[in-house]
Structures are given as C-alpha cells and as structure tokens.
C-alpha cells in the first residue's frame, strides 16, 4: 500500500461522550474496502487479545484504511484516536496535530455540549478542516436543522456541507467518506526534506521495545536509519516501520504524509514524549515541530497497600503500569502510619483515579491513597529550595523563608445563568479573577488564576454540580507564587499521623481544621476507647472532635438457636475490619485519608 500524498487523508473524530464517536468509527472501518466486514472484526479481536496478553492499554490509537472513492481512485485514510478529558488535553492536541482535518460529531437530539468545545478549539488551533457530522438522525426526536444552526452560531463552523448520518444504521456514512476525500486537505510534506516525524502516542511491547506512533510531516524513515528524538536527544537504530490496519503491516519505509509506527529497541517509554519530533542523526532537520511541551506530573499522592505484606506486589504492578504510561512516576517512601509505599505523580486527578482503579481491578490490590498534593517550592533561610511533594516532609518552620505553590490559568465555559455560582466557587478556592467574556448569546467564558492545590480535589465535580453539568473546564500551568501556607497535622489519640498531613492556607486553616476533624470523626468508626481527633498547626491545636468509644455492639436475640446467622453477621463485621488500616491502636478506613481535603460540610 503505497500512495501518493495527494491521496492520503489524516483525520480524527471529535465528539461529546455518547454522541456516537465509536459507532461512527466502527461504521467507517466496515465501509472502507481495506478489509471485509467479517475479516475486520476478526482482526480487531485478534489484535485486542494480543494487547490484553501483553497487558497494554486497549485502545485504537490509529488505524490506516484503504478507501475506494466514487471518483474511481483509491485513498489512504488514517483515523487517529484521541482521549477525551482535561487531564489529557495535551495528548489530544498532539493527536490533532497529526491530522489535517477532523469530524465533529454532534448528536442530533442533544445539540452542541459544553465538553465538545474544548476539543473543537484545539482542532481550530491546529488549523484543522472541521467537517460537522450530525448523528442519530434516525431518531424521531432528532432536530438536525436546529443543531446545524447551533454549530454555526455557537462554534462558527459553516454547516452547508454538514453530513446527516445515523452511525447506527449506516445511513449517510458513505457520504461522510466522500466528504473526507473532498474537503479534508491532503498532507503537504516534502518527502525529500530532512525527516520530521511527530510522535503522537506510544506503547510498550515486550519483544520490540517501545512502539512509537508517528505522523511523518516531512522526509522519509526506513529500517536501518539512526533516528534522534529531539527533546531527549536519544538516538536509536530503527528496526521496524509499518502501518496499522488495525493489524500491523510491516513496510520498508514511511513517507511524508503517512501515519504509522516505528520500533527502535527503545527500552523506556519515559524517553518517548508525545509531541516530540523524530529526525535522522545523519540528516537532521533544522527545527523541531511546534507545540511540544514536556508533561510533568502535577499531582502527587502516597499509595500504600492496606496489607503491608503486599508492598512488593504493588511495586510490581506500578512497574508494569508505567511501562505503558510515561506520565506515571513513582518512588518508594515510608510513612510511620502506613508503612512502606510509594509517592506517585500523575497528570491530574482523573489520571490518578485511572491508575488506582487499574491497580485495584487488574492487580487485585487493596490500596490506601493519601490526599493528593501538588509540588510546593519551599525556600529555606539558608538559601536552598526544596521541591516538596509530600506535606509531611515540610521542614521546621524556623528554617523556612517562604513557601510557593503552583498556579494554573483556568478557562471555564458556562451558561450565563451559572456565572454567579461559578465565580463564587473560584473565589472560595482562592481564585484570582482575570476575565469574563461572552462566548455566544447564552454562554460565557470565565478566566481565573487558581492555585493548583485548590482544584486537585473535587473542583471539577463541584463545577459540574453548580452548573447542572453544563460547564467545561480547561487549565494550563501558569507558574509559582508565594502563599501564606502552613502544614496542618492531624493527631489521632494524641499521635501525629504523617499520612494525614496537608498544606493549607492560613486564612482558611481554622475552618478547614474543624471540618476535617468532624469528617474524620464521622468516617472512623467507634473504637473500644475514646479517640480524640485533633488538627494542629505548628503544634498548636486548632480543632478537636472526639470519637466516642463503642458502647453497644451485640446481637440481642438468636432465634431458635440460629447460630449460623449470627456468625454470618459477624463475618461481615470482620470483612469491614479487614479493609481498615491499624494505625497505632486505631482502626482507620481507607477513605479517611482522602477526607483531609474535605472543604464542605456536606460532602
């Protein structure tokens, strides 16, 4: 399969969740001629099984398809998949940068939704040709004309050429394929120029090392070339190149305009950055492709096995996960309260949730996560600066000159009737107002500068609930600023529990302290003795609540000597206890460690 650049189309699909992105992708895969419907399914499953066996992420990444157009000519389509959450917006932008166009799928019964917009803007930023596709027109409640108008008015994309489809029935999909040929521009790279290949994704393969998914912007790459990854400067010998249909198809070389994969015995996925440019050692390009950003983990937390005997299992699982997840970082740490565990870094909260879920589900681990923290810059009186990712390790106050915390610039799009509550939320989180603008007749864009620490915990959830799910939110790191910060310690039964320490802003410390101790009192079950819960700053107690001793816990009656039933009730109680961590003499449930970030009474 070798095609002239003019017959290549590189595109992705943007859609709000449930608007039919994967159904449309499936339909496109079926209706292209590269493989028959039946074969395609088989191949797909084979590839998935293989992926499962090797324990790597199951996702489409990118797929190359052959399409026979009504104009009588054959085209090569490269459909590039994108993740869809604010934590991964950088990855989305890199995937889009590999394309010349995208399909914007909008549900004809729902219309444009807030969450679609962030991705549309990324597409516009990347100068993509956007083809509106109005889906689900087979449903009686569909309103294609209204949705067209909405797309034109709210996003500003002309809908004269909008495709009306039902991805479910296949109606109109053939026209979409023709539109792709007709409206999405062909890539314009120079095959003879020095190599510039954009990395948009990668995964680990235990036999071939890291498989790098690339889009060749200029030049050619072939087996035997020595390549250089421009951001890391590392050089490798190319052992394999090819395309995915979705089955891998080895090729001799990849040319400008093509999308495919490359293997070069790269051992560590952390050397391969999405957005980085690959060039040739012997004939390097002058400039890297624009838009590359090094992705640093923004959120850190401690991860501990509930059963301390499982430490090595956790280590093993983290190592395996990080083979395929360049953004996951971890190093061993010790907590007095929780024993041996790891300090882990994530791109954001969703990323943290995904990792936790995979560790628990795929590796059967029972975990305790400590409250997520950002990296603080702690300037010492001696002049040194410490990057602090674990609040309990904050040096003595007398040694500290200043603490700085990371800020983000956040853009929140919301229907205008919710602007008030959203501003209130931002103010509560120590946000600094920057801008407020109309997006269209009904929606506004609010710009705030916010401390990252204030959005890592449930900001997004709050935003959603304040706006009935309509607001969308995107943020960019904007630098460090000094803050009036202090470490808040939590004491259980008079002992400081290091895993419960957090960094708080002094102005809200009292309030936070009293909410947190009350929350802990609620979460920690009564023990055989009374347990005081105290919050303290610099050893000074600022809030206290007492967990009463258990007073009555016995099943009064056993009907007709039904001992089995009683034993089963006790089993349940035992199970509950197993999920708790004994800290000193106090049994603490897993979710207690998260609760130190509670900001509201009603959570």
């Amino acid at each position: 399969m070798s095609f002239d650049q003019s017959h290549i189309r590189n595109f992705s699909i943007i859609a709000h969740i449930d608007h039919g992105k994967s159904t449309l992708a499936d339909r496109i895969l079926e209706m292209t001629e590269t493989v028959s419907k039946r074969e395609m399914k088989d191949q797909f499953l084979d590839s998935m099984d293989l992926e499962r066996e090797r324990g790597i992420t199951i996702k489409l990444n990118a797929v190359t398809l052959k399409y026979h157009s009504k104009n009588g000519e054959d085209y090569l389509f490269n459909l590039i998949d994108t993740p869809g959450h604010v934590d991964f917006s950088y990855e989305v932008s890199r995937s889009l940068a590999a394309c010349e166009g995208c399909l914007l799928v909008v549900d004809a019964t729902q219309g444009v939704e807030a969450q679609t917009l962030a991705n549309v803007y990324l597409a516009v930023d990347n100068n993509l040709e956007i083809l509106p596709v109005i889906n689900k027109v087979d449903l009686p409640s569909s309103m294609p004309d209204m949705v067209k108008q909405e797309i034109e008015e709210r996003i500003g994309i002309p809908c004269d050429n909008a495709n009306l489809v039902s991805a479910k029935t296949g109606e109109g999909v053939a026209k979409v394929l023709e539109s792709i040929v007709k409206y999405i521009p062909a890539p314009k790279g120079d095959r003879n120029a020095p190599l510039q290949a954009l990395i948009f994704d990668s995964f680990y393969d235990s036999y071939r090392g890291v498989i790098v998914l690339i889009c060749i912007k200029n030049g050619t790459v072939k087996v035997g070339d020595t390549i250089r990854l421009m951001a890391s400067g590392h050089e490798y010998l190319v052992t394999e190149v090819g395309i995915r249909t979705p089955k891998e198809l080895k090729k001799d070389e990849l040319y400008a305009g093509e999308v495919g994969y490359l293997a070069a015995q790269i051992k560590d996925i952390k050397d391969v950055f999405p957005g980085d440019t690959i060039t040739l050692r012997d004939n390097p390009c002058e400039h890297a492709l624009p838009g590359y950003r090094k992705m640093n983990p923004m959120v850190f937390c401690g991860l501990y096995p509930v059963d301390s005997k499982k430490f090595l299992d956790l280590k093993d699982a983290l190592e395996k996960l990080s083979l395929n997840d360049a953004s996951l970082v971890f190093e061993a740490e010790t907590s007095q309260a929780l024993g041996f565990g790891f300090r882990c870094g994530f791109l954001g909260l969703l990323h943290m949730d995904v990792v936790q879920e995979r560790l628990e589900r795929e590796y059967g681990l029972d975990l305790i996560l400590t409250a997520p923290s950002v990296i603080y810059h702690v300037y010492l009186t001696k002049g040194d600066m410490i990057e602090l990712d674990n609040p309990s390790k904050l040096p003595d106050l007398t040694l500290i000159k200043e603490i700085q915390e990371p800020y983000v610039k956040a853009e929140i799009m919301t229907p205008k009737e919710y602007v008030g509550p959203v501003m209130e939320l931002c103010q509560d989180r120590r946000g600094v107002y920057i801008d407020l603008q109309y997006f269209d007749d009904t929606r506004m864009i609010l710009t705030y500068e916010l401390p990252l620490s204030e959005i890592v915990y449930n900001f997004f959830d709050k935003l959603k609930s304040f706006t009935k799910g309509y607001a969308s939110f995107d943020y960019q790191y904007s630098g460090y600023k000094p803050g009036n910060l202090a470490k808040m310690d939590i004491m259980l039964n008079g002992e400081v529990i290091d895993a419960l320490s957090t960094i708080v802003h002094r102005t809200t410390a009292y309030q936070r302290g009293s909410i947190v101790v009350r929350k802990l009192k609620e979460i920690i079950p009564r023990q055989q003795f009374e347990v005081p819960v105290q919050a303290a700053i610099n050893g000074k107690v600022i809030a206290r609540a007492d967990i009463k001793a258990v007073r009555k816990d016995v099943l009064a009656k056993c009907y007709g000597g039904d001992i089995s039933r009683k034993r089963k009730l006790l089993e349940k109680q035992k199970e509950g206890k197993k999920r708790m961590k004994a800290i000193g003499s106090v049994e603490v449930p897993q979710d207690a460690f998260m609760s130190v970030l509670s900001i509201d009474e009603d959570e």
Binding site: R526, Q528, F529, K548, V550, R551, K552, D553, V554, L555, A556, K557, C558, Y559, G560, G561, D562, I563, S564, R565, K566, R567, L569, L570, Q573, K574, K577, K578, S585
Partner: protein, 363 residues
C-alpha cells in the same frame, strides 16, 4: 458420636403478625396447619430420637394451633423427655387459654415462655400485639396455677420510648413475680413492617443506657444475668437455651428451624411447599476449625460465666491465651476481657460490645 440431647420444634403459625418479627411465620389457617404438622411429625420420625433432656416448642406461636392439633403435637414429643427434663412452650397472651394450659400440664410441659413484650398498651398496639398489659397480668396469674416455671419476654428500644417508660416496664415486669425474664433490644430487620415503615433502632448510646438500667434494676431485685439478654432467679436458667450457648448439639425441626447435629449446622427450608414435600433441610454446613472457634466464642461470651479454660483446651488442643496471644492484652487492659483462674469471660462492658471484642480477637 453422641446424639443431641435437646429438641427445638418450630411452629410457624401466628394469629397476628407482629411488626418487628423476622422469623418464619404464617397466618394460622387449618388448611396449612394440618399438613404442616403431618410433615413435622414425619421429620421428627426421620431423626430416630431416643431421649432428650430439653424440649422447646417455639415459633411463630405454638398456642395458635387448635386444641386438637396442639394436643397431638405434645403427644408426639412428650415421651422423648427424660424424667428430670425441661419442657418449654412459647405462648402469646391472647391465646394462652385454660384449655391450652390443661393440655400442657397433662403432657408434662414444665416451663412456659410468655410474650409480654411491653407493659405499655400504646406500645403494644403500635407493635402489632393484640393484648393489653392488664390481660398479660391475668394470663400470667392463670398460668402460674398450672406451671410455676415461667419466663416473660420484654422488648426495649422502641421509637419514642423514654427512660421513664422503660423503668415503668421493668417495675411492671418485676411485679409479675416470675423466675425468668428475657429482655431484648428491638432489632429492625428487613422483611418486617417496621423496616418498611422506616422505624430506626435506638442508637448505641441510648441502647446502652437502657441496657445498663435493666441490668442494675434486675440485679437489685434478685435476678442474675446469666446470659446477655436472660435473667433468672432461684437458679431457674433456661436449660434449653444454655445448650445453644454452650455450643452443644440439638435437633431442630419445623419450617425454617435450625439445628446442629454431628458437627453440622443446618437450616430448614422456609418454603412451606418444599417442607410439605418432605424437603426439609435447605442449607447444611460442616464447620471449619476457624468457624468452630468463632462460634465457640460468640456463644460462650454471651454467658456471664464465659467458658472454662479446660473446656476450651479440650476442644481446641490449645490454651485460649496461646491461640489469641498478642490480641488479649489490650482487651484485658481496657477491662473488657477477664481471664480468671478457671474461666475466661467478658466484663459487663465487654458483654455490651461483645461483637466488637470478638472481631478484635478474630480479625
């Protein structure tokens, strides 16, 4: 293997359904009661029972049976009892008639357990009992003319029940002048009217306050709390219930009954249809060593005396203090567990939070 020395018989019929009752019960109707008794007799025959030291007929409401049915039931089992055996029948105030008492007396029933439950007529009505306190007083008086060894049941922890209400109940119950009193806190189980009505159990602080009042009052009036919910004077313990708490074996027959024979616990079917077809046993399990240990503790710790160290060692080949090394020190320090010369037992505080103590030993 020795055969069990106790027999529990479950009569699943009631003339009314109480709002808190979570046991297997059906409205009394002779269309069902006759075949049910027939199936019960067949089940009893299937065990080839020789002699037992205790018989307990519970329910449901055994006295809801017709006099003829009731007579045939007692005739069926009375000869199993050894000469000094204990023969208990549960009765409700409303259908404990002179006739029933005569039938019982003549068939060797020597212990009665009467469901008084409350001495407050408002509460009695609210929980679906069809008697008044005054009627209860009369029935107890009547019953004493036939059978001297009487237990009355009392429940505490009803919604809106005040401490005053409780003290009045205690005073009234004491005035009945019976040898045995069982006092349970209200449990709201699923599948009860109370549960569906959203009735809440007392919180543990209130419940403990009430429990302590009961304990103090009854002790001061000459009753011994020999089990967590059971009080006796003149040594009139329930010998049958002690079989359960000493973790000993017993036959259990009747719809939904449970039993313990030859190291296996079983529970009968709750389906009348299955039962009538003779498919009595629904679940049967032989206990693992850990489960045996668990049951041993949860039975014996209900008793004021706990268990004898020797008995534990005989059953488990190890000293109690060995098995639970490292776990008992804090319990002793917190004055929940008492290791005596002969016996191991829980303190008053320990008994009140027994489940918690056991979990900390076994967890």
């Amino acid at each position: 293997m020795n055969k069990p020395r106790s027999l529990y018989i479950h009569i699943p019929f009631c003339s009314h359904i109480c709002h808190y009752c979570d046991f297997v019960k059906l409205f009394y109707n002779n269309k069902f009661s006759e075949p049910c008794l027939k199936a019960l007799f067949a089940e009893i025959d299937s065990y080839h029972i020789d002699k037992v030291d205790t018989i307990y007929i519970g329910g449901g409401t055994p006295t809801s049976l017709s006099d003829e049915e009731f007579t045939s039931l007692l005739d069926k089992v009375k000869d199993f009892l050894t000469p000094n055996g204990e023969f208990t029948v549960e009765a409700n105030v409303e259908n404990l008639t002179k006739e029933k008492l005569e039938i019982m007396k003549s068939r060797g029933v020597n212990r009665l357990s009467i469901g008084v439950e409350s001495t407050n007529d408002g509460i009695l009505k609210a929980i679906g009992r069809y008697h008044t306190y005054e009627e209860a007083v009369k029935v107890v008086k009547l019953a004493k003319q036939y059978i001297s060894n009487i237990n009355v049941d009392l429940i505490y922890g009803f919604p809106h029940q005040s401490e005053e209400d409780l003290r009045k109940d205690i005073k009234n119950i004491l005035s009945l002048d019976v040898d045995h009193i069982s006092i349970y806190s209200l449990i709201v189980s699923e599948c009860t009217k109370f549960y569906k009505d959203g009735v809440k159990e007392q919180d543990q602080d209130e419940s403990r306050k009430f429990y302590d009042i009961i304990l103090k009052e009854l002790r001061e009036n000459g009753y011994e709390r020999y089990e967590i919910s059971n009080y006796a004077r003149n040594g009139k313990y329930s010998r049958h219930n002690l079989v359960y708490w000493h973790n000993q074996e017993y036959y259990g027959v009747g719809l939904g009954a449970s039993g313990y024979i030859a190291g296996a616990r079983y529970t009968n079917t709750k389906s009348l249809k299955q039962y009538l077809e003779g498919n009595c046993v629904d679940i049967k399990e032989t206990l693992s060593k850990d489960e045996l240990l668990e049951e041993y503790l949860l039975c014996h710790f209900r008793l004021e005396k706990g268990f004898a160290k020797n008995d534990f060692k005989n059953r488990f080949d190890q000293e109690f203090t060995e098995v639970f090394r490292g776990k008992i020190d804090s319990l002793i320090e917190r004055k929940l567990l008492i290791i005596g010369k002969e016996n191991v037992r829980l303190s008053d505080d320990g008994m009140a939070i027994m489940d918690n103590v056991i979990v900390s030993l076994l967890g």
